[in-house]
Symmetry: C2
Subunit: 450 residues, 2 copies
């Protein structure tokens, strides 16, 4: 037990994503003692995860240690532990450390910000064949599968099997899916030049599926069309109104709007289709007597607190409020709002409701090409890309990461080269059932079973 | 089957380490068709592996893809496959691809250069608790364990258990062990400053064990003493004439020269004590009717060929010849010798025996401190370190890796910071028995069993 005995107001923050980290940083100015609990040791800059998956950046550049980011915040402690439950009456949070020993954290105010994971819409068995894009481990797994697929194609004599290794399927036409599809296409067209003798990597097929009528629907018709044209120019095959209904090692089964189905042989699949809130949202809702929405998010009051417990905040992707989208900007602002509310209460001031300032959204489509939706101003092409560059450099954590990322971007965007192409044994992870892990082979590269 | 039908002289190289890579590069100038087979997709710059393990460099910087390094060598094909056997009569090599399908490669000349792995001197069960330092996966596993140990210490209230998390044991006082011990000490003294609230990372104990009377014995007494003094100044506890005879999750059992034993609680152990040639050395010896030495290396003729088969070369750490040491320089020179011999034969010239040009050896002890033994000239301190810097930058592959490494060295050596501290699930690898992998916990961080 490590319940701190102190008279200072104790804030426990669960989750070190955008919401949790911004809350912790803001509380530097408040007379509180903060404990930030995360199951990982890092803050993940999730919008650049696709660049780790495609070999542009290393994991350290987008996942700095939380305790290093917060080293100047003397009133913040960071703990690496997995939160397992809440006792809202006792005001404690229970957790498990990496060595499976138990921990309890007592709080006066609690901020829960554990975000969202991938949703396979009831097809959890797909996760084995189509990793999501939510964690560093996801990105490293995909990096191994993508570069490994070209390795396998090079040594495959059978034309049909070679084609299956050279086919990449991205499910989901939101920003993550679009960025992944664009980067795999660019990689195959320029990044692997002169590397192979028997295959031509630029003949790789990249298919982007979306169930709706257009990709990047939230950006509006004009930008959506602009992005589609850029992706097609790169060679991405965009297939809208088509839903992936089946999957195995060999490929996917796709259903069209007219009900017809098609089998597409493809060894590499990436899932970027849906999200579901962290299971802690449902636990917190049960504990508080509240409820969750269809995406598993806990419904909060206008000040981001949970029902009947004004001292408990739920913020970021975990929270359902006013149909706000699950984007980094909402996470940062709700995290700040929770921290500000705690500070105001200690100063005797009344709560305010959360109001969202929409600073716009953006997605990179290809090198030198991005689309930006900024307060109704919609920009594409090179200007959009330069805005993307400035915003991402601004929000990245720490000088060293900014400098290193800028160097690797220059390398990739100018020469097409990728600095991070090492395939490691990390593919043999918990994602694969133990009986599959024999022989030290990479499961993504395994033969489909008969 | 992919036996190439061609009238060009076919060279198969097994292994893309220093020996195999240098052979492949040299053969650019020869009228031959080269197939380089490696079970990994990368060339590993092994002398810098300890910098990946301690968070200075990313894996991509020291492990560039073989096919990218060789992209300009149009007569070289690279295949990712694990060689399983040799048929010296048929002149074929059999291998397994990552998807478990079989391959056969026909050769006119064969160069086997699969190097050496870690040897636990009959205690293979130690490998679970004390990873070696031979592959990228080893280094990433150790990186997770080292940074994870400080995480665990921070949240541990029991003083004895906390001390066990803060104790790091390095077994083996050769260059790798010295460099690891020095870097862990520097990391704890400067790299983690202001990151923790309850522990003082600079109180970490780093113990370096060697069975012999001094560390770095091959460098001679004067440099060995100099290195010992530098390490002690950093806070490394050097324990010579002490052998690790037992190990579990909780610590190690050490035996002194007088026969007495001691138990030392320590959660993090690193094995840098011995090497054993790749199992292919013994297979090749059996196939050729030759023999291996105590370290499992195949005994070769003075021209680096195996007995009775002048068309088959064994080079690098895999080979026993004239008591040559297992260092990168010997690997490069024997690889080049094999390639040169193949070229000379095609030009109708006679074979020459291999002669080793000793260009010296070096080891970094701390930042700005290295020891160098260059043709009898023995240098330590800052001048040695500058020589180390120049040599390593020269031999690193590719501009981008040199530039990135230089940036990260500047960062680490000037400010003490580490760019790569992300702990990922990769710790759950094949190293751990399946029944241990439950719960997604990091095995290195697991509770010792009762």
């Amino acid at each position: 037990m490590s319940v701190h005995e102190t008279s200072t107001h104790r804030v426990v923050i669960v989750g070190g994503g955008f919401a949790g980290l911004f809350a912790a940083k803001f509380l530097r100015r408040a007379p509180v003692q903060v404990t930030l609990v995360d199951r990982e040791n890092y803050h993940l800059f999730q919008p650049l995860l696709y660049q780790v998956a495609t070999g542009i950046l290393s994991e350290g550049e987008i996942a700095p240690p939380l305790r290093d980011v917060l080293r100047g915040h003397r009133n913040v402690e960071v703990e690496m532990a997995t939160v397992t439950g809440f006792d809202l009456e006792d005001r404690t949070v229970s957790a498990t450390r990496p060595d499976n020993t138990a921990r309890t954290y007592a709080y006066d105010s609690l901020i829960v910000a554990t975000g969202a994971g991938q949703s396979y819409f009831g097809h959890d068995e797909f996760s084995r064949w189509a990793p999501g894009m939510k964690t560093i481990d996801d990105a490293l797994e995909l990096r191994g599968r993508i570069f490994g697929a070209f390795e396998m194609a090079e040594s495959e004599d059978d034309i049909a099997r070679r084609q299956a290794w050279m086919t990449f399927i991205v499910v989901g036409g939101g920003p993550t899916g679009v960025e992944m599809a664009g980067q795999i296409a660019e990689l195959s067209r320029t990044g692997l030049r002169h590397n192979f003798r028997r295959i031509d990597p630029s003949e790789a097929r990249v298919l982007l599926f979306d169930g709706g009528p257009e990709i990047l629907a939230s950006f509006g018709d004009r930008l959506s069309l602009k992005a589609s044209n850029e992706l097609r120019r790169l060679g991405v095959d965009i297939q809208t109104k088509r839903v992936v209904i089946g999957m195995d090692a060999a490929g996917v089964t796709v259903k069209a709007a007219d009900g017809s189905t098609e089998q597409i042989p493809a060894r590499t699949k990436i899932w970027a289709a849906g999200v579901h809130a962290s299971p802690l949202a449902a636990q917190l809702a049960t504990a508080a007597g509240g409820e969750t929405d269809r995406a598993g998010r806990i419904k909060v009051l206008p000040n981001c607190t949970v029902p009947h417990h004004p001292e408990v905040f739920a913020v970021g992707d975990l929270m359902a409020l006013d149909q706000l989208p699950g984007v980094a900007e909402v996470a940062m602002q709700t995290g700040l709002h929770a921290a500000l509310t705690i500070k105001r209460r200690l100063e005797g001031e009344d709560d305010k409701d959360f109001t969202y300032r929409d600073l716009g959204s953006m997605a990179t489509v290809a090198r030198f090409r991005a689309i930006v939706d900024f307060r109704g101003i919609r920009v594409g092409g090179l200007i959009g890309w330069l805005m993307w560059l400035v915003v991402h450099l601004t929000f990245m954590t720490g000088f060293k990461n900014r400098f290193a990322a800028l160097f690797h971007w220059a390398l990739t965007f100018m020469s097409g080269q990728r600095a991070q192409r090492t395939i490691t044994l990390r593919e043999v992870t918990a994602r694969v059932a133990p009986e599959d892990a024999g022989g030290g082979q990479l499961p993504g590269l395994r033969e489909p079973e008969a």
